[in-house]
Protein backbone atom coordinates (compact mmCIF):
# COMPACT_ATOMS: atom_id res chain seq x y z
CA UNK A 1 0.00 0.00 0.00
CA UNK A 2 1.23 3.44 -0.71
CA UNK A 3 0.01 6.88 0.27
CA UNK A 4 0.63 10.30 -1.13
CA UNK A 5 3.20 12.31 0.77
CA UNK A 6 2.99 15.30 -1.57
CA UNK A 7 0.41 15.13 -4.28
CA UNK A 8 0.23 17.09 -7.53
CA UNK A 9 3.63 18.79 -7.36
CA UNK A 10 3.53 19.66 -11.03
CA UNK A 11 1.11 18.85 -13.85
CA UNK A 12 1.54 18.94 -17.62
CA UNK A 13 -1.27 18.65 -20.16
CA UNK A 14 -0.39 16.49 -23.16
CA UNK A 15 -1.84 17.73 -26.41
CA UNK A 16 1.20 18.47 -28.52
CA UNK A 17 4.57 16.86 -29.17
CA UNK A 18 6.22 19.79 -27.41
CA UNK A 19 4.27 18.78 -24.31
CA UNK A 20 6.25 15.52 -24.33
CA UNK A 21 9.45 17.54 -24.16
CA UNK A 22 8.02 19.54 -21.28
CA UNK A 23 6.86 16.36 -19.50
CA UNK A 24 10.27 14.65 -19.60
CA UNK A 25 11.97 17.89 -18.64
CA UNK A 26 9.75 18.06 -15.55
CA UNK A 27 10.51 14.39 -14.82
CA UNK A 28 14.24 15.12 -14.96
CA UNK A 29 13.94 18.24 -12.82
CA UNK A 30 11.88 16.52 -10.15
CA UNK A 31 14.12 13.48 -9.96
CA UNK A 32 17.16 15.76 -9.80
CA UNK A 33 15.57 17.75 -6.95
CA UNK A 34 14.89 14.54 -5.02
CA UNK A 35 18.57 13.66 -5.19
CA UNK A 36 18.50 10.82 -7.73
CA UNK A 37 21.72 10.19 -9.71
CA UNK A 38 21.83 11.37 -13.33
CA UNK A 39 21.34 7.93 -14.96
CA UNK A 40 18.26 7.36 -12.82
CA UNK A 41 16.93 10.78 -13.78
CA UNK A 42 17.44 9.94 -17.45
CA UNK A 43 15.78 6.54 -17.13
CA UNK A 44 12.71 7.96 -15.42
CA UNK A 45 12.47 10.84 -17.91
CA UNK A 46 12.80 8.40 -20.80
CA UNK A 47 10.00 6.24 -19.38
CA UNK A 48 7.82 9.34 -19.05
CA UNK A 49 8.66 10.27 -22.63
CA UNK A 50 7.67 6.78 -23.88
CA UNK A 51 4.27 6.78 -22.18
CA UNK A 52 3.47 10.39 -23.08
CA UNK A 53 4.29 9.69 -26.71
CA UNK A 54 1.92 6.72 -26.62
CA UNK A 55 -0.83 8.98 -25.25
CA UNK A 56 -0.26 11.55 -27.97
CA UNK A 57 0.03 9.00 -30.74
CA UNK A 58 -2.91 6.75 -29.83
CA UNK A 59 -5.32 9.11 -28.04
CA UNK A 60 -4.17 12.62 -28.86
CA UNK A 61 -4.79 14.09 -25.44
CA UNK A 62 -4.03 13.39 -21.80
CA UNK A 63 -2.19 14.67 -18.78
CA UNK A 64 0.69 13.80 -16.48
CA UNK A 65 0.84 14.61 -12.77
CA UNK A 66 3.95 14.25 -10.65
CA UNK A 67 3.68 13.45 -6.94
CA UNK A 68 5.79 11.95 -4.14
CA UNK A 69 4.42 8.86 -2.42
CA UNK A 70 5.48 6.89 0.60
CA UNK A 71 5.60 3.12 0.53
CA UNK A 72 7.15 0.88 3.19
CA UNK A 73 8.94 3.88 4.69
CA UNK A 74 10.49 4.76 1.32
CA UNK A 75 9.71 7.76 -0.81
CA UNK A 76 9.02 7.41 -4.54
CA UNK A 77 8.53 9.92 -7.32
CA UNK A 78 5.30 9.08 -9.07
CA UNK A 79 4.26 10.04 -12.58
CA UNK A 80 0.56 9.41 -13.17
CA UNK A 81 -0.34 9.57 -16.85
CA UNK A 82 -4.03 9.57 -17.68
CA UNK A 83 -5.88 9.59 -20.98
CA UNK A 84 -9.52 9.10 -21.87
CA UNK A 85 -9.06 7.14 -25.07
CA UNK A 86 -10.48 3.80 -26.16
CA UNK A 87 -8.29 1.83 -23.79
CA UNK A 88 -5.74 -0.88 -24.60
CA UNK A 89 -7.35 -4.28 -25.20
CA UNK A 90 -4.23 -6.50 -25.01
CA UNK A 91 -2.12 -5.09 -22.18
CA UNK A 92 -1.13 -8.50 -20.87
CA UNK A 93 0.34 -9.47 -24.22
CA UNK A 94 2.13 -6.17 -24.66
CA UNK A 95 3.74 -6.46 -21.23
CA UNK A 96 4.99 -9.98 -22.01
CA UNK A 97 6.85 -8.87 -25.16
CA UNK A 98 10.54 -9.15 -24.60
CA UNK A 99 11.94 -9.01 -28.09
CA UNK A 100 12.35 -5.73 -29.92
CA UNK A 101 9.78 -5.78 -32.74
CA UNK A 102 10.86 -4.90 -36.23
CA UNK A 103 10.97 -1.16 -36.80
CA UNK A 104 10.96 -0.55 -33.07
CA UNK A 105 7.36 0.49 -32.85
CA UNK A 106 4.85 -0.56 -30.16
CA UNK A 107 7.62 -0.84 -27.63
CA UNK A 108 6.79 2.12 -25.43
CA UNK A 109 4.94 0.42 -22.58
CA UNK A 110 7.41 -2.42 -22.28
CA UNK A 111 10.34 0.04 -22.42
CA UNK A 112 8.86 2.25 -19.76
CA UNK A 113 8.29 -0.74 -17.50
CA UNK A 114 11.96 -1.64 -17.79
CA UNK A 115 13.12 1.83 -16.79
CA UNK A 116 11.14 2.32 -13.56
CA UNK A 117 11.02 0.59 -10.18
CA UNK A 118 7.28 0.05 -10.17
CA UNK A 119 4.89 0.10 -13.06
CA UNK A 120 1.09 0.01 -12.90
CA UNK A 121 -1.26 0.14 -15.82
CA UNK A 122 -5.00 0.12 -15.77
CA UNK A 123 -7.00 0.28 -18.96
CA UNK A 124 -10.73 0.00 -19.47
CA UNK A 125 -12.34 -0.43 -22.84
CA UNK A 126 -13.63 2.94 -24.01
CA UNK A 127 -12.75 4.42 -20.63
CA UNK A 128 -9.14 5.47 -20.99
CA UNK A 129 -5.84 4.33 -19.56
CA UNK A 130 -3.96 5.16 -16.37
CA UNK A 131 -0.24 4.51 -16.13
CA UNK A 132 1.66 4.94 -12.91
CA UNK A 133 5.48 5.10 -13.00
CA UNK A 134 7.35 4.94 -9.68
CA UNK A 135 11.01 5.60 -9.08
CA UNK A 136 12.54 5.19 -5.65
CA UNK A 137 14.11 8.23 -4.05
CA UNK A 138 17.52 7.33 -2.53
CA UNK A 139 17.60 7.08 1.25
CA UNK A 140 20.18 9.86 1.52
CA UNK A 141 17.93 12.28 -0.32
CA UNK A 142 18.03 15.99 0.51
CA UNK A 143 15.34 17.14 2.94
CA UNK A 144 11.82 16.93 1.51
CA UNK A 145 9.09 18.69 3.47
CA UNK A 146 6.18 21.01 2.90
CA UNK A 147 8.14 24.29 2.62
CA UNK A 148 10.59 22.64 0.24
CA UNK A 149 7.79 21.27 -1.93
CA UNK A 150 6.27 24.76 -1.97
CA UNK A 151 9.66 26.06 -3.10
CA UNK A 152 9.63 23.50 -5.94
CA UNK A 153 6.11 24.54 -6.89
CA UNK A 154 7.29 28.11 -7.13
CA UNK A 155 10.32 27.02 -9.11
CA UNK A 156 8.17 25.11 -11.62
CA UNK A 157 5.69 27.96 -11.90
CA UNK A 158 8.41 30.52 -12.54
CA UNK A 159 10.28 28.16 -14.84
CA UNK A 160 7.20 27.58 -16.96
CA UNK A 161 7.15 31.29 -17.58
CA UNK A 162 10.65 31.35 -18.99
CA UNK A 163 10.26 28.16 -21.00
CA UNK A 164 9.73 29.47 -24.54
CA UNK A 165 7.25 26.78 -25.47
CA UNK A 166 5.12 27.24 -22.34
CA UNK A 167 5.32 30.97 -22.89
CA UNK A 168 4.18 30.70 -26.49
CA UNK A 169 1.41 28.29 -25.51
CA UNK A 170 0.18 30.66 -22.78
CA UNK A 171 0.35 33.62 -25.09
CA UNK A 172 -1.46 31.68 -27.77
CA UNK A 173 -4.28 30.82 -25.39
CA UNK A 174 -4.48 34.43 -24.24
CA UNK A 175 -4.40 35.63 -27.83
CA UNK A 176 -7.22 33.29 -28.79
CA UNK A 177 -9.26 34.50 -25.82
CA UNK A 178 -8.62 38.13 -26.74
CA UNK A 179 -9.48 37.41 -30.39
CA UNK A 180 -12.72 35.78 -29.34
CA UNK A 181 -13.59 38.70 -27.06
CA UNK A 182 -12.74 41.11 -29.88
CA UNK A 183 -14.88 39.16 -32.32
CA UNK A 184 -17.85 39.35 -29.94
CA UNK A 185 -17.19 43.06 -29.34
CA UNK A 186 -17.03 43.67 -33.06
CA UNK A 187 -20.29 41.83 -33.62
CA UNK A 188 -21.92 43.91 -30.91
CA UNK A 189 -20.49 47.11 -32.34
CA UNK A 190 -21.69 46.22 -35.83
CA UNK A 191 -25.12 45.48 -34.46
CA UNK A 192 -25.18 48.80 -32.59
CA UNK A 193 -23.95 50.62 -35.70
CA UNK A 194 -26.79 49.10 -37.70
CA UNK A 195 -29.27 50.21 -35.07
CA UNK A 196 -27.79 53.71 -34.97
CA UNK A 197 -27.89 53.88 -38.75
CA UNK A 198 -31.52 52.85 -38.94
CA UNK A 199 -32.40 55.27 -36.12
CA UNK A 200 -30.51 58.01 -37.91
CA UNK A 201 -32.41 57.27 -41.10
CA UNK A 202 -35.69 57.38 -39.21
CA UNK A 203 -34.79 60.67 -37.55
CA UNK A 204 -33.69 62.17 -40.88
CA UNK A 205 -36.93 61.09 -42.51
CA UNK A 206 -38.94 62.54 -39.61
CA UNK A 207 -36.97 65.79 -39.71
CA UNK A 208 -37.52 66.10 -43.42
CA UNK A 209 -41.22 65.44 -43.00
CA UNK A 210 -41.43 68.02 -40.24
CA UNK A 211 -39.56 70.58 -42.32
CA UNK A 212 -41.90 70.01 -45.22
CA UNK A 213 -44.94 70.24 -42.94
CA UNK A 214 -43.53 73.42 -41.38
CA UNK A 215 -42.95 74.99 -44.75
CA UNK A 216 -46.45 74.04 -45.83
CA UNK A 217 -47.93 75.49 -42.64
CA UNK A 218 -46.03 78.74 -43.00
CA UNK A 219 -47.15 79.05 -46.59
CA UNK A 220 -50.74 78.30 -45.67
CA UNK A 221 -50.61 80.75 -42.75
CA UNK A 222 -49.30 83.49 -44.98
CA UNK A 223 -51.90 82.78 -47.63
CA UNK A 224 -54.63 82.78 -45.00
CA UNK A 225 -53.52 86.12 -43.56
CA UNK A 226 -53.28 87.63 -47.02
CA UNK A 227 -56.69 86.25 -47.85
CA UNK A 228 -58.19 87.71 -44.64
CA UNK A 229 -56.57 91.04 -45.34
CA UNK A 230 -57.76 91.18 -48.96
CA UNK A 231 -61.27 90.02 -48.18
CA UNK A 232 -61.77 92.40 -45.24
CA UNK A 233 -60.24 95.26 -47.17
CA UNK A 234 -62.39 94.60 -50.24
CA UNK A 235 -65.55 94.14 -48.16
CA UNK A 236 -65.17 97.61 -46.63
CA UNK A 237 -65.79 99.51 -49.91
CA UNK A 238 -69.21 97.95 -50.75
CA UNK A 239 -70.21 98.28 -47.10
CA UNK A 240 -69.43 101.98 -47.16
CA UNK A 241 -71.57 102.24 -50.34
CA UNK A 242 -74.43 100.43 -48.58
CA UNK A 243 -74.08 102.85 -45.67
CA UNK A 244 -74.22 105.85 -48.06
CA UNK A 245 -77.19 104.53 -50.03
CA UNK A 246 -79.00 103.66 -46.79
CA UNK A 247 -78.49 107.25 -45.53
CA UNK A 248 -80.03 108.63 -48.79
CA UNK A 249 -83.00 106.29 -48.61
CA UNK A 250 -83.38 107.13 -44.91
CA UNK A 251 -83.62 110.83 -45.74
CA UNK A 252 -86.33 110.13 -48.33
CA UNK A 253 -88.18 107.87 -45.93
CA UNK A 254 -87.95 110.45 -43.12
CA UNK A 255 -89.45 113.05 -45.50
CA UNK A 256 -92.36 110.71 -46.22
CA UNK A 257 -92.97 110.40 -42.44
CA UNK A 258 -93.20 106.60 -42.33
CA UNK A 259 -92.30 105.87 -38.67
CA UNK A 260 -92.18 102.08 -39.14
CA UNK A 261 -89.68 102.35 -41.99
CA UNK A 262 -87.65 104.84 -39.98
CA UNK A 263 -87.26 102.33 -37.14
CA UNK A 264 -86.19 99.63 -39.61
CA UNK A 265 -83.53 101.93 -40.99
CA UNK A 266 -82.09 102.41 -37.57
CA UNK A 267 -81.85 98.61 -37.24
CA UNK A 268 -80.21 98.46 -40.68
CA UNK A 269 -77.68 101.09 -39.55
CA UNK A 270 -76.90 99.09 -36.43
CA UNK A 271 -76.24 95.97 -38.53
CA UNK A 272 -74.05 97.94 -40.95
CA UNK A 273 -72.05 99.31 -37.99
CA UNK A 274 -71.64 95.82 -36.59
CA UNK A 275 -70.49 94.49 -39.93
CA UNK A 276 -68.06 97.40 -40.22
CA UNK A 277 -66.54 96.73 -36.80
CA UNK A 278 -66.27 93.02 -37.63
CA UNK A 279 -64.42 93.74 -40.85
CA UNK A 280 -62.20 96.29 -39.08
CA UNK A 281 -61.43 93.64 -36.45
CA UNK A 282 -60.43 91.00 -39.03
CA UNK A 283 -58.36 93.59 -40.86
CA UNK A 284 -56.46 94.65 -37.76
CA UNK A 285 -55.96 91.01 -36.70
CA UNK A 286 -54.43 90.10 -40.02
CA UNK A 287 -52.42 93.31 -40.06
CA UNK A 288 -50.96 92.85 -36.60
CA UNK A 289 -47.48 91.41 -36.85
CA UNK A 290 -47.42 91.77 -40.60
CA UNK A 291 -46.47 95.37 -40.81
CA UNK A 292 -43.40 97.11 -39.67
CA UNK A 293 -44.43 99.77 -37.22
CA UNK A 294 -42.01 102.41 -36.10
CA UNK A 295 -41.16 102.54 -32.40
CA UNK A 296 -41.60 105.86 -30.65
CA UNK A 297 -41.36 107.15 -27.12
CA UNK A 298 -44.67 106.40 -25.49
CA UNK A 299 -45.71 107.93 -22.19
CA UNK A 300 -48.20 105.28 -21.12
CA UNK A 301 -50.00 107.60 -18.69
CA UNK A 302 -50.70 110.18 -21.42
CA UNK A 303 -51.76 107.42 -23.77
CA UNK A 304 -54.23 106.10 -21.19
CA UNK A 305 -55.66 109.57 -20.55
CA UNK A 306 -56.20 110.00 -24.30
CA UNK A 307 -57.98 106.64 -24.55
CA UNK A 308 -60.17 107.34 -21.53
CA UNK A 309 -61.17 110.66 -23.06
CA UNK A 310 -62.04 109.04 -26.38
CA UNK A 311 -64.19 106.14 -25.12
CA UNK A 312 -67.84 106.74 -24.30
CA UNK A 313 -67.69 106.42 -20.53
CA UNK A 314 -71.14 106.02 -19.00
CA UNK A 315 -72.00 108.08 -15.91
CA UNK A 316 -71.33 106.05 -12.74
CA UNK A 317 -68.27 104.27 -14.21
CA UNK A 318 -64.87 105.62 -13.35
CA UNK A 319 -61.43 104.75 -14.75
CA UNK A 320 -58.52 105.06 -12.30
CA UNK A 321 -54.82 104.95 -13.04
CA UNK A 322 -53.44 103.42 -9.88
CA UNK A 323 -49.68 103.31 -10.17
CA UNK A 324 -46.81 105.16 -11.79
CA UNK A 325 -46.86 104.43 -15.52
CA UNK A 326 -43.62 103.86 -17.46
CA UNK A 327 -42.35 105.73 -20.49
CA UNK A 328 -41.51 103.12 -23.12
CA UNK A 329 -39.80 102.99 -26.46
CA UNK A 330 -42.31 100.90 -28.35
CA UNK A 331 -45.07 100.73 -31.00
CA UNK A 332 -47.72 103.14 -29.73
CA UNK A 333 -50.46 101.80 -31.97
CA UNK A 334 -50.26 98.32 -30.43
CA UNK A 335 -50.46 99.57 -26.86
CA UNK A 336 -53.32 101.89 -27.82
CA UNK A 337 -55.20 98.98 -29.41
CA UNK A 338 -54.73 96.71 -26.39
CA UNK A 339 -55.74 99.29 -23.79
CA UNK A 340 -58.71 100.51 -25.90
CA UNK A 341 -59.95 96.95 -26.31
CA UNK A 342 -59.60 96.10 -22.63
CA UNK A 343 -61.19 99.37 -21.37
CA UNK A 344 -64.04 99.14 -23.90
CA UNK A 345 -64.66 95.50 -22.87
CA UNK A 346 -64.77 96.52 -19.21
CA UNK A 347 -67.29 99.24 -19.99
CA UNK A 348 -69.28 97.14 -22.44
CA UNK A 349 -69.88 94.19 -20.16
CA UNK A 350 -70.34 96.12 -16.93
CA UNK A 351 -73.69 95.24 -15.40
CA UNK A 352 -74.17 97.75 -12.59
CA UNK A 353 -74.80 101.49 -12.36
CA UNK A 354 -71.65 102.25 -10.41
CA UNK A 355 -68.23 100.81 -11.10
CA UNK A 356 -64.50 101.35 -11.13
CA UNK A 357 -62.02 100.29 -13.76
CA UNK A 358 -58.49 100.30 -12.34
CA UNK A 359 -55.30 100.24 -14.43
CA UNK A 360 -51.91 99.40 -12.93
CA UNK A 361 -48.40 98.46 -13.98
CA UNK A 362 -45.69 96.41 -12.23
CA UNK A 363 -42.14 96.11 -13.53
CA UNK A 364 -40.86 92.54 -13.60
CA UNK A 365 -37.30 92.09 -14.86
CA UNK A 366 -37.45 92.47 -18.64
CA UNK A 367 -41.23 92.86 -18.78
CA UNK A 368 -43.86 95.21 -17.47
CA UNK A 369 -47.05 93.59 -16.29
CA UNK A 370 -50.07 95.82 -17.09
CA UNK A 371 -53.41 94.99 -15.42
CA UNK A 372 -56.90 96.28 -16.23
CA UNK A 373 -59.24 95.41 -13.38
CA UNK A 374 -63.00 95.85 -13.35
CA UNK A 375 -65.75 95.12 -10.83
CA UNK A 376 -68.17 93.80 -13.41
CA UNK A 377 -69.85 90.37 -13.52
CA UNK A 378 -66.61 88.38 -13.69
CA UNK A 379 -65.73 85.47 -15.99
CA UNK A 380 -66.26 81.82 -14.99
CA UNK A 381 -63.03 79.84 -14.91
CA UNK A 382 -63.96 77.46 -17.74
CA UNK A 383 -63.93 80.44 -20.15
CA UNK A 384 -60.56 81.84 -19.12
CA UNK A 385 -58.83 80.20 -22.07
CA UNK A 386 -61.65 80.24 -24.59
CA UNK A 387 -62.22 83.97 -24.58
CA UNK A 388 -58.85 84.46 -26.28
CA UNK A 389 -59.87 82.33 -29.25
CA UNK A 390 -60.98 84.00 -32.48
CA UNK A 391 -64.71 84.82 -32.80
CA UNK A 392 -65.40 83.59 -29.30
CA UNK A 393 -67.63 85.85 -27.27
CA UNK A 394 -69.41 85.20 -24.01
CA UNK A 395 -72.11 87.65 -25.03
CA UNK A 396 -73.39 86.36 -28.34
CA UNK A 397 -76.50 88.44 -28.07
CA UNK A 398 -74.56 91.68 -27.97
CA UNK A 399 -74.65 93.47 -31.26
CA UNK A 400 -71.23 95.05 -31.20
CA UNK A 401 -69.18 92.04 -30.04
CA UNK A 402 -67.08 90.61 -32.83
CA UNK A 403 -65.23 88.11 -30.68
CA UNK A 404 -61.96 89.35 -32.17
CA UNK A 405 -60.74 91.91 -29.60
CA UNK A 406 -59.05 89.52 -27.16
CA UNK A 407 -57.60 87.34 -29.92
CA UNK A 408 -55.99 90.45 -31.42
CA UNK A 409 -54.48 91.28 -28.01
CA UNK A 410 -53.19 87.74 -27.71
CA UNK A 411 -51.62 87.90 -31.15
CA UNK A 412 -49.97 91.26 -30.50
CA UNK A 413 -48.57 90.28 -27.09
CA UNK A 414 -47.17 86.99 -28.40
CA UNK A 415 -45.56 88.88 -31.31
CA UNK A 416 -43.80 90.98 -28.66
CA UNK A 417 -42.74 87.87 -26.75
CA UNK A 418 -45.25 88.42 -23.96
CA UNK A 419 -48.56 86.88 -22.91
CA UNK A 420 -52.04 87.77 -21.79
CA UNK A 421 -54.37 86.08 -19.33
CA UNK A 422 -57.36 86.76 -17.16
CA UNK A 423 -57.85 86.35 -13.43
CA UNK A 424 -61.39 86.21 -12.15
CA UNK A 425 -63.15 84.65 -9.19
CA UNK A 426 -66.74 85.57 -8.56
CA UNK A 427 -67.36 89.22 -9.43
CA UNK A 428 -64.76 91.30 -11.14
CA UNK A 429 -62.11 90.35 -13.69
CA UNK A 430 -58.49 91.40 -14.13
CA UNK A 431 -56.90 91.21 -17.57
CA UNK A 432 -53.14 91.12 -17.33
CA UNK A 433 -50.64 91.34 -20.18
CA UNK A 434 -46.88 91.60 -20.27
CA UNK A 435 -44.99 94.06 -22.44
CA UNK A 436 -41.23 94.33 -23.02
CA UNK A 437 -39.70 96.94 -20.75
CA UNK A 438 -37.79 98.79 -23.44
CA UNK A 439 -37.61 102.12 -21.69
CA UNK A 440 -37.14 105.26 -23.66
Amino acid sequence: MHKYAYQNIVKVGIANELDIVLAYKRARQLTQLTGMPVPTQTKFATAVSEICRNVLEHVGEGSIVFSIIEQDKHLYVEALIIDYGRGIPNIEEILKINIQPLGGKGWGIANAKKLVDQFFIESKLNNGTKVKLLKKIPANHPPINKPIIEGWNEYFNNESRISPYEEIKQQNIQLLEVMEALRIKQMQTEHQMDEIKSLHNNVSALLKEREEANGMLQKMNKELEEFAYTVSHDLKAPLRNIQGIAKLINKAVKASGNEQANMHFEMLNEQVKRMDSLITGILSYSKSGRQYIEQTTVDVKNLLLEIIASVALPAGLEVQILSEMPVLHTEEIYLRQIFTNLIENAIKYHDTQQGIIAISAIEKEKFIEFAVKDDGPGIPEEYHEKIFQMYYSLHTSSNDSTGLGLSIIKKITSEKGGKVWVESQGRGATFIFTWPAETA
Binding site: K25, T42, E50
Partner: protein, 132 residues
Protein backbone atom coordinates in the same frame (compact mmCIF):
# COMPACT_ATOMS: atom_id res chain seq x y z
CA UNK B 1 8.90 25.51 -37.88
CA UNK B 2 12.31 25.02 -36.30
CA UNK B 3 15.05 23.26 -38.25
CA UNK B 4 18.34 21.84 -37.12
CA UNK B 5 21.18 23.29 -39.21
CA UNK B 6 23.30 20.87 -41.24
CA UNK B 7 26.85 21.98 -42.00
CA UNK B 8 28.87 20.70 -44.95
CA UNK B 9 32.59 20.11 -44.36
CA UNK B 10 34.36 18.53 -47.29
CA UNK B 11 32.67 15.22 -47.91
CA UNK B 12 31.03 15.24 -44.52
CA UNK B 13 27.83 16.62 -43.13
CA UNK B 14 27.91 17.91 -39.56
CA UNK B 15 24.84 18.10 -37.34
CA UNK B 16 24.89 19.41 -33.79
CA UNK B 17 21.63 18.94 -31.95
CA UNK B 18 21.47 21.62 -29.30
CA UNK B 19 17.77 21.70 -28.57
CA UNK B 20 15.31 19.26 -27.10
CA UNK B 21 14.26 17.06 -29.96
CA UNK B 22 10.55 16.78 -30.44
CA UNK B 23 9.01 14.39 -32.92
CA UNK B 24 8.51 16.62 -35.93
CA UNK B 25 11.92 18.22 -35.49
CA UNK B 26 13.53 14.77 -35.46
CA UNK B 27 11.58 13.66 -38.52
CA UNK B 28 12.48 16.79 -40.46
CA UNK B 29 16.12 16.34 -39.51
CA UNK B 30 15.95 12.78 -40.88
CA UNK B 31 14.42 14.06 -44.10
CA UNK B 32 16.82 17.01 -44.49
CA UNK B 33 19.87 14.83 -43.90
CA UNK B 34 18.94 12.26 -46.54
CA UNK B 35 18.23 14.99 -49.10
CA UNK B 36 21.48 16.73 -48.26
CA UNK B 37 23.50 13.51 -48.64
CA UNK B 38 22.04 13.12 -52.10
CA UNK B 39 22.52 16.78 -53.07
CA UNK B 40 26.14 17.23 -52.01
CA UNK B 41 27.24 13.67 -52.56
CA UNK B 42 28.32 13.39 -48.94
CA UNK B 43 30.36 10.43 -47.82
CA UNK B 44 29.80 10.76 -44.13
CA UNK B 45 27.35 12.18 -41.58
CA UNK B 46 28.40 13.17 -38.08
CA UNK B 47 25.66 13.75 -35.52
CA UNK B 48 26.64 15.37 -32.23
CA UNK B 49 24.10 14.53 -29.52
CA UNK B 50 26.11 15.80 -26.55
CA UNK B 51 23.32 18.24 -25.68
CA UNK B 52 20.56 15.64 -25.95
CA UNK B 53 19.46 14.46 -22.53
CA UNK B 54 16.82 11.93 -23.60
CA UNK B 55 16.97 9.25 -26.25
CA UNK B 56 13.84 7.17 -26.07
CA UNK B 57 12.74 4.45 -28.48
CA UNK B 58 11.43 7.00 -30.95
CA UNK B 59 14.67 9.00 -31.04
CA UNK B 60 16.68 5.79 -31.13
CA UNK B 61 14.64 4.68 -34.11
CA UNK B 62 15.24 8.00 -35.88
CA UNK B 63 19.01 7.68 -35.39
CA UNK B 64 18.86 4.08 -36.65
CA UNK B 65 16.84 5.16 -39.67
CA UNK B 66 19.30 7.93 -40.54
CA UNK B 67 22.18 5.47 -40.38
CA UNK B 68 20.38 2.87 -42.51
CA UNK B 69 19.28 5.36 -45.13
CA UNK B 70 22.70 7.04 -45.47
CA UNK B 71 24.26 3.61 -45.75
CA UNK B 72 22.00 2.89 -48.72
CA UNK B 73 23.03 6.29 -50.13
CA UNK B 74 26.67 5.20 -49.84
CA UNK B 75 27.54 7.29 -46.80
CA UNK B 76 28.46 6.50 -43.19
CA UNK B 77 26.84 7.87 -40.04
CA UNK B 78 28.63 8.44 -36.76
CA UNK B 79 26.86 9.55 -33.61
CA UNK B 80 29.13 11.32 -31.13
CA UNK B 81 28.98 12.83 -27.65
CA UNK B 82 26.35 10.60 -26.13
CA UNK B 83 25.84 11.33 -22.47
CA UNK B 84 26.68 8.38 -20.18
CA UNK B 85 23.20 8.44 -18.69
CA UNK B 86 21.69 8.16 -22.15
CA UNK B 87 23.94 5.24 -22.96
CA UNK B 88 22.94 3.51 -19.73
CA UNK B 89 19.27 4.03 -20.51
CA UNK B 90 19.64 2.74 -24.04
CA UNK B 91 21.36 -0.41 -22.83
CA UNK B 92 18.70 -0.93 -20.17
CA UNK B 93 16.08 -0.60 -22.87
CA UNK B 94 17.88 -2.98 -25.12
CA UNK B 95 18.11 -0.35 -27.85
CA UNK B 96 21.42 -1.18 -29.52
CA UNK B 97 21.16 1.41 -32.31
CA UNK B 98 22.09 -1.15 -34.91
CA UNK B 99 23.88 0.25 -37.94
CA UNK B 100 24.87 3.40 -36.10
CA UNK B 101 28.58 3.92 -35.54
CA UNK B 102 29.45 5.85 -32.39
CA UNK B 103 32.44 7.77 -31.11
CA UNK B 104 33.17 9.56 -27.88
CA UNK B 105 33.53 13.05 -29.33
CA UNK B 106 33.56 15.01 -32.58
CA UNK B 107 37.33 14.58 -33.09
CA UNK B 108 37.21 10.84 -32.72
CA UNK B 109 34.06 10.73 -34.79
CA UNK B 110 35.81 12.52 -37.67
CA UNK B 111 38.72 10.12 -37.43
CA UNK B 112 36.35 7.19 -37.54
CA UNK B 113 34.57 8.59 -40.58
CA UNK B 114 37.86 9.17 -42.41
CA UNK B 115 38.95 5.63 -41.69
CA UNK B 116 35.66 4.14 -42.73
CA UNK B 117 35.63 6.02 -46.02
CA UNK B 118 39.24 4.97 -46.66
CA UNK B 119 38.27 1.39 -45.92
CA UNK B 120 35.27 1.54 -48.16
CA UNK B 121 37.39 2.94 -50.92
CA UNK B 122 39.94 0.12 -50.56
CA UNK B 123 37.15 -2.41 -50.41
CA UNK B 124 37.68 -3.44 -46.79
CA UNK B 125 34.55 -4.41 -44.91
CA UNK B 126 35.82 -4.70 -41.36
CA UNK B 127 33.91 -2.76 -38.76
CA UNK B 128 35.59 -0.56 -36.20
CA UNK B 129 32.89 -0.17 -33.65
CA UNK B 130 30.98 -2.58 -31.60
CA UNK B 131 27.53 -1.51 -32.66
CA UNK B 132 27.56 -3.12 -36.04
Amino acid sequence: MDRIPILKMGHFLLVTIQVDLYDRLALSLENDLINMVSQVDAKGVLIDISAVSIVDSFMGRILGNIASMTKIMDAETVVVGMQPAVAITLVELGLTLSGVHTALNVEKGMELLQKRIGKDQTGEEEDYDSND
